[in-house]
């Protein structure tokens, strides 16, 4: 799956988590979204794991800088 494909699949996950509409782009970071605090972040990560049927390693998500990085991390975990 390409980064763009992953990001397209992330959009509905974000829609389920956030109250207000968030446009998912590679540049997006938590700072850009008012609702995206450390608590909602927990829910977001858990939801992404469920949606893609993957498991992040401990600390992996923390190391990503933006949604683009996160999408790359997800793509790496998906079966080829």
């Amino acid at each position: 799956m390409t980064q763009a494909e992953v990001i397209a699949k992330l959009q509905p996950v974000f829609d389920d988590v956030f109250m207000d509409k968030v446009d998912v782009t590679p540049q997006l970071t938590a700072k850009d979204v008012g609702e995206w605090d450390s608590l909602v972040h927990i829910t977001l990560v858990l939801s992404i794991e469920k949606a893609f049927k993957i498991r992040f390693g401990v600390g992996e998500v923390e190391a990503t800088r933006n949604v683009g990085d996160l999408a790359d991390l997800i793509a790496k975990k998906l079966p080829a």
């Binding site: 389920d16 988590v17 990560v45 939801s47 469920k50 949606a51 992040f56 401990v58 998500v61």
Partner: protein
């Protein structure tokens, strides 16, 4: 489990349609996994934020819930709020206090903490699983290990007692999930020091020692049911201090809402059963008594018999059985009377309706016969059309649609969680017997032409007693579930009943009744409070309720006779009664005036009454009062 599509509630929300809440409730009931629940929870938050109205008459009840614990309480608290709002009935709108991470011990022990400032009605404690470990060696003497387990449990229960005594709140205590790890292998069973056995020990001690105000959220059971591996998520602990996997979090939140609902709503009392393809396989009208599946002749017949055997255990919990079937009555009765392999017999049912009228009408008729509210009825059928008709025309009744496989019927009923015992009392077990006697009495009543001679013929005996500690569970149970003959509907927990017993300002009594057909047990309760006023003491009737089983037996008259006697003994110059109307207690609207009280205040939401005890002449009844309250035996 298929992913729950949320298109439906989404568009309803977009249209600001109040039906949104019903759809949300149905989706929530069916959702099992976190990814199914989360979108629903987000929709709920959006709807609340936008102020979407609730359907008329179904606004959720407000509830102040505090959650404290040894883990992160997010997103647990959000899931709990979601399940509470979507609980059966009108649900609960929870105002939640969230304790700080792993700060529950000091929050409970410090009397000036935010927890007490919040004044919760219920407190949920999620203790730290990490602190439930044996400190010592696997090879220590078993007794040493057991002592530590007991100590771990009693320390937790001490916390529960402290929080209950300080806040008067009911306490929901989460116990410990079982670990999924192989280590230490088969040796885990030979010691109490293994996490596996130690947690089981502590959980068992917690359960067996818990006082009535502690309600266990059994995470041991829930983790076993879901699977211990699927319940564990180590990374979620290290990254965000989650106590368990998100799926188990869903189970826990649902359980909390289930317990809260059980504490606040009346229990189910009657199971109404269809017959064809429900209690036996096949259609009696077509297949005949030799053609139906029941007994030991085939796997299918065995499954139906096992289901009947399960149903027969319900009356032991105080659940009444009734039949509602589309059949000719004589054909429907035949298997109960003649088939040798039926586990259920005609006498197991308090009512038997086999006819061709709509089932909703029949269920209403049964409710009237038994003098019970429709909302205490559960209707069980294999036919979705019948379930739907009852839902439309008797919406208060809870329907259970059986699936296609009779081997799962019992499980389906058990997992619908409608007949779970709270505190089982002796009266529960005897209730089915009582209702049968009631049917005989009605028969007798029909034979008498005048009420007086009928009442005399009953040989009624009444024992009146001040509140006694031994009766506290039954008193709390009656206070919790009497809706119709109940002038104020003030609810009290068992702990609060005990406070009434200890406080000398209260003058509270119970009445027991028996007659020649049987013993009704404890059937009426009065809680009075004697208050000194300048013009003399006043006997304030806080609670007056009675089981509807004994209506029209002159118990009301004897209740007032006793009330007046006690008021005089306490030097009262006035008895003051209140009627607070609810949807269900219309039958006691005029109770006080009927008993000779004068109307003192008349408002739509409140009526007040007064009686001067000196001007009251005791009513002569057909009841022989063999003992009175606050008197030596």
């Amino acid at each position: 489990m298929n992913a729950v599509s949320i298109d439906d509630p989404k568009s309803l929300l977009a249209d600001a349609d109040p039906r949104f809440w019903d759809v949300l409730r149905a989706r929530t009931r069916d959702a099992e996994a976190f990814e199914d629940l989360l979108p629903l929870s987000t929709l709920r938050r959006k709807a609340l934020k936008r102020g979407l109205a609730f359907p008329t008459g179904a606004a959720p009840v407000r509830l102040k819930l505090a959650i404290v614990g040894g883990c992160s309480l997010f997103p647990l608290h959000e899931l709990i709020e979601h399940f509470l709002l979507n609980a059966p009935g009108s649900g609960f709108h929870a105002q939640v206090f969230q304790g700080d991470y792993d700060n529950y011990v000091s929050e409970i022990l410090e009397a000036d903490s935010g927890l007490y400032e919040f004044a919760p009605e219920m407190v949920l404690i999620v203790p730290s699983f990490k602190r439930c470990r044996y400190q010592g060696r696997m090879t220590d003497p078993i007794e040493t290990q057991r002592e530590q387990g007991v100590q771990t449990a009693t320390q937790l229960l001490d916390l529960c007692r402290t929080v209950h005594e300080r806040s008067k709140a009911e306490v929901l205590l989460v116990n410990f999930p079982l670990p999924p790890y192989h280590d230490p292998g088969p040796f885990r069973g030979r010691t109490l020091a293994s996490d596996w056995n130690f947690r089981k020990l502590v959980n068992m001690e917690l359960g067996l020692r818990a006082p009535s105000y502690v309600h266990t959220c059994d995470l041991e059971f829930l983790s076993a049911r879901r699977g211990t591996l699927a319940s564990t998520d180590e990374k979620a602990w290290f990254e965000s201090k989650q106590p368990c996997s998100v799926d188990l979090l869903v189970d826990l939140a649902r359980e909390v809402a289930h317990i809260v609902t059980g504490l606040r709503q009346g229990p189910k009392k009657v199971a109404v059963l269809d017959l064809d393809n429900t209690v036996w396989g096949g259609v009696i009208g077509d297949d005949g008594i030799d053609g139906i599946d029941i007994g030991d002749t085939s796997p299918r017949a065995e499954a139906f018999k096992a289901f009947q055997q399960y149903l027969r255990t319900l009356p032991e919990r105080g659940i009444l059985l009734a039949v509602c079937s589309k059949n000719d009555e004589d054909k429907a009765l035949e298997p109960f009377e003649k088939h040798p392999d039926m586990a259920l017999r005609r006498e197991d049912f308090v009512s038997f309706k086999a006819n061709w009228m709509p089932k909703s009408d029949n269920i209403r008729a049964i409710a009237q016969e038994l003098n019970l509210g429709l909302d205490s009825f559960v209707f069980i059928d294999d036919n979705p059309a019948e379930i739907e008709i009852v839902k439309q025309f008797a919406p208060e009744v809870t329907g259970v649609l059986l699936g296609p496989d009779p081997s799962r019927y019992a499980r389906e009923i058990m997992d619908a969680r409608l007949f779970e015992p709270r505190a089982i009392t002796v009266e529960d077990a005897e209730r089915a017997e009582l209702y049968k006697q009631e049917a005989q009495r009605q028969q007798l009543e029909a034979n008498f032409t005048d009420m007086d001679s009928y009442l005399s013929s009953l040989n009624m005996k009444c024992v009146i007693s001040e509140f006694r500690t031994v009766d506290a569970p039954r008193i709390a149970q009656l206070i919790g579930r009497s809706n119709q003959f109940n002038v104020t509907t003030h609810r009290r927990t068992e702990a609060e009943v005990r406070q009434v017993i200890e406080d000398p300002a209260y003058c509270a009594y119970t009445m027991r009744l028996e007659d020649r057909f049987g013993d009704y047990g404890l059937i009426a309760i009065v809680i009075g409070r004697v208050e000194g006023r300048t013009e003399g003491n006043v006997f304030d009737v806080d609670t007056w309720l009675m089981s509807c089983r004994v209506l029209k037996r002159q118990v009301e008259e004897e209740t007032v006779n006793e009330m007046v006697r006690l008021a005089k003994a306490r030097g009262c110059t006035r008895i003051h009664g209140v009627y607070l109307p609810t949807k269900k207690n219309g039958m006691v609207r005029d109770l006080y005036p009927r008993m000779g009280f004068a109307v003192a205040l008349e408002q739509p939401d409140r009526r007040e009454f007064e009686l001067d005890p000196m001007l009251y002449t005791p009513v002569d009844t057909k009841i022989n009062v063999i003992q009175r309250a606050y008197q030596p035996l």
